[in-house]
């Protein structure tokens, strides 16, 4: 019992007792100027550190729960508070417990002229024995250039650098069926007028840039397609590439006029920068940054079962534009 009490007192003294600093370096001038102790600030720091410890322990506790609603919030709160308490403790230390000195120091010298000259001399003397410097430097340049190229060239394996033909390839060809995302064919009779559908080529990769289409059905009399596309829209159904020619987003919005006289015609709109295309006029750009119309896919009606098929490939390359984008027609991968 007695021993226990002695231990308790010893521990108490150890924890709570203030240290009397015996000046160990009394014989030397101080480096850090002296300052008066601030016991209250010390208590404050202690309190803040204990707060940090408590919050951090709270984090561990919250973490240990298997199911807890708002666990993320409690985790963030406890960890954040632990850091905040630590920060506060450090700020008190900085403002009240350590001496804040204002020191002066010389800015470094701008340069070392003598050494600079010596370096020049060093380089010059090191190359003393060369007599055909120009020639050798040319040789070195050639070697460096060729080596650089040799080191760089393997990077061209990353992709087809010179061959941009892949950009013209789409899975659409004459006779390919239009299907929805579940693979169901589009039947002309089931298409409602002025409703927006997304179609894909049957049996092809849906995630290719050349695959997705927007399909809209109009009254044939409402369509004013460009010359030569007269028979591209059987039953008034038009199909365009769904990929915006501006910057490759999906043209995912369809504005349908609700009051004919007041509202302009129906429009296909890209949500990225609001390029707006007129589906009745070959997806001409009527607003926004896109520089060319959406490529149109000619359609064909299978008279036997009323399914919609592609009648060929697009009217132009799909996707965002690049230099010379229109120089070739889209084609199928070989």
């Amino acid at each position: 019992m007695n021993a226990l009490r002695r231990w308790a007192i010893a521990l108490g003294v150890l924890a709570l007792g203030r240290k009397q600093r015996r000046p160990r370096f009394a014989d030397r001038p101080r480096i850090v100027p002296p300052g008066a102790p601030d016991p209250r600030a010390e208590w404050l720091v202690l309190g803040l550190l204990l707060g940090a410890a408590a919050a951090a322990a709270g984090f561990v506790v919250v973490y240990s729960f298997n199911h807890l609603s708002h666990q993320t919030q409690y985790l963030g709160l406890s960890l954040g508070l632990a850091f905040a308490f630590t920060a506060a403790a450090l700020v008190v230390v900085a403002k009240r417990l350590v001496v804040t000195e204002e020191l002066e120091e010389d800015y470094p010298v701008p340069g070392h002229p003598t050494t600079q000259e010596e370096l020049e001399q060093l380089v010059a003397e090191g190359g003393d024995r060369f007599t055909r410097k120009r020639l050798l430097l040319t040789g070195a340049g050639a070697a460096a250039g060729a080596l650089g190229a040799a080191v760089f060239v393997p990077a061209l394996s990353l992709g087809p650098f010179l061959d941009t033909d892949a950009l013209y390839e789409t899975p659409w060809r004459r006779g390919r069926r239009l299907v929805d995302e579940h693979g169901k064919p589009f039947l002309l009779d089931e298409l409602e007028r002025e409703t927006f559908y997304t179609a894909y080529p049957e049996g092809a990769d849906k995630e290719e840039v050349g695959s997705p289409l927007v399909v809209v059905r109009f009254e044939p009399s409402e369509l004013h397609l460009p010359a030569g596309r007269r028979d591209w829209a059987p039953g008034g159904v038009v199909a365009y590439s769904k990929i915006c020619t501006h910057a490759g987003c999906a043209v995912a919005l369809f504005r349908k006029p609700t009051f004919r006289p007041v509202e302009p015609g129906p429009a296909l709109i890209c949500p990225c920068h609001y390029s707006t295309f007129d589906p009745t006029r070959g997806a001409k750009v009527i607003f926004g940054p896109a520089g060319r119309p959406l490529p149109q896919l000619p359609l064909l009606l299978d008279r036997e079962n009323g399914e919609l098929l592609a009648a060929g490939n697009f009217s132009g390359p799909v996707g965002p534009s690049w230099w010379g984008v229109r120089s070739k027609a889209p084609r199928n991968p070989s």
Binding site: Q20, G76, E104, A155, E208, C272, G319, P320
Partner: protein, 468 residues
């Protein structure tokens, strides 16, 4: 008795440590110098430190995320607890990011903290750069330091974009599509470069994901860390700049608080404050809820979602530019996305890189500058900076025009035209107003000094010359 013992023990530990290190590394003089290195004190000098500490948090949380994220576009079906996504087809990358958010304990905290930290990282770099610009801290001998910092900003933007893209949610897919298109739009080489980077036409080869991943978790962080080290080395080698605060602060002498004991607890306190803010944000304020966006499919798009703030200026530029393709007959030379997506940022960064050179040309000053200007001290520089800032800022605002339309009902088309006018008017206005304002400040300061002097003379005191 016990106290004396304790004190002796403490000093024995420190002495042992110091001896151990010095005898093995010989760095005692260097350490002593470092501990007495002087930091001039001004709140605006802390912005760079905030960026540094945010980077530390980014690396820490980022490493944690790599233990769970799978950078693969292989297709899979979600079968987890989050009902709205169950049965949906998605990439393994997206599924692992959703699982990381819902299944991994503390995963969402780390992911959100990482995302917040990325936003704060870029913000603090930009603010730091503004401080450096408007105080003329980029002048010799710190121009090299400035170039390094600017390059870090470029890498930080790219790094943020890649991090955002890797998740493969609907928004990141749209962001990638736009990035691909902007690269495609570069005249003469764009299509080739895009095919090189993506490996195939959009959405690219499967390897593209590994490329992004290794760039995001390895290449760019290493580049940033290296530049950061060089940046800090140069800062220390040429010492900090300072404001002309008293007669003691001169071009020759730097005045401030030494690392130890004064500055270290301050700076550490800042680190923990940054950590506190980021983790509180990460835990309490939702950011990028990818499970709401859903997985990316090329045929899907969404309306009105905003990218991270630091991409807003590019979105704005893409929207503001009229639909101008440069073509010769049927031959496209420059597609439209080039202007806003590539030319505009190139121009801004080119101007920023030219800043030290332009400043030297304009002022004819080639000497060493350790003292900072207050913004008013250099009215032209301040005014031109304000104009550039206003220009980028208007375009940045235009990036939020669809949000404004949804929230306030102002027609999108009308807004666009307003912005198209403001893009020219506002920088000019900023230029004129800022310059006037600087001159007025100078003038009022001069008058104040004259008045003080006159009052002193009237009171019969000797005229005091106050040097400022």
């Amino acid at each position: 008795m016990g106290r004396a013992l304790e004190s002796a023990e403490e000093s024995v530990v420190i002495r042992g440590l110091v001896r151990f290190l010095d005898e093995r590394s010989g760095t005692a003089p260097f350490v002593k110098k470092a501990l007495r290195y002087v930091f001039p004190d001004h709140w605006s000098f802390l912005l760079g430190e905030v960026a540094l500490y945010t980077f530390v948090i980014l690396v820490g949380t980022g490493i944690y995320l790599t233990f769970f994220f799978e950078p693969s576009t292989a297709s899979t079906y979600y079968a987890g607890h989050y009902a709205p996504l169950r049965g949906h087809e998605m990439s393994v990358a997206y599924r692992s990011a959703v699982d990381l958010s819902f299944k991994v304990r503390a995963g969402l905290l780390m992911r959100q903290t990482h995302h917040w930290a990325a936003d704060v990282f870029v913000a603090s770099i930009v603010l730091h750069m503004l401080r450096v610009f408007f105080t003329g801290a980029f002048r010799k001998p710190r121009d090299l330091t400035y170039y390094l910092g600017l390059t870090m900003l470029v890498f930080a933007l790219l790094e943020g974009y890649l991090g955002y893209s890797l998740v493969d949610d609907l928004l990141s897919g749209m962001g990638l599509a736009i990035g691909y298109s902007v690269l495609m739009s570069v005249p003469f080489v764009g299509a080739n470069l895009a095919l090189l980077v993506w490996g195939a036409p959009f959405p690219g080869k499967a390897e593209f994901w590994s490329r992004m991943y290794v760039a995001h978790v390895f290449l760019l962080p290493i580049l940033i860390a290296t530049l950061l080290a060089l940046h800090l080395f140069l800062v220390a080698a040429r010492h900090h700049t300072q404001f002309r605060e008293s007669r003691r602060t001169t071009e020759k002498k730097v005045v401030g608080i030494p690392t130890f004991p004064g500055y270290a607890p301050r700076s550490l306190g800042l680190f923990f404050s940054v950590a506190a803010v980021l983790f509180l944000l990460g835990g309490l304020v939702q950011i990028n809820p990818i499970w709401l966006w859903g997985p990316y499919h090329i045929a899907q798009g969404t309306n009105g979602a905003q990218p991270d703030w630091y991409l807003g200026w590019l979105i704005g530029a893409l929207r503001l530019v009229p639909n101008l393709d440069v073509t010769i007959g049927d031959y496209t030379l420059v597609p439209n996305a080039f202007w806003g997506g590539a030319l505009f940022p190139l121009l801004v960064f080119m101007l920023l890189y030219l800043v030290p050179w332009l400043d030297r040309r304009a002022t004819g000053e080639y000497g060493f500058r350790n003292l900072l200007d207050r913004p008013r001290d250099a009215p032209w520089r301040t005014a031109l900076g304000a104009a550039l800032f206003a220009w980028v800022f208007v375009i940045f605002l235009a990036g939020a025009s669809d949000r404004v339309f949804v929230s306030f009902g102002i027609s999108y088309v009308a807004q666009l035209w307003i912005y198209r006018v403001l893009v020219f008017v506002l920088p000019l206005a900023a230029l004129i107003v800022t310059r006037r304002f600087c001159l007025a400040l100078q003038e009022s300061e001069r008058l104040g000094q004259i008045r003080k002097q006159a009052e002193a003379e009237a009171r019969g005191e000797l005229p005091q010359t106050e040097q400022l």
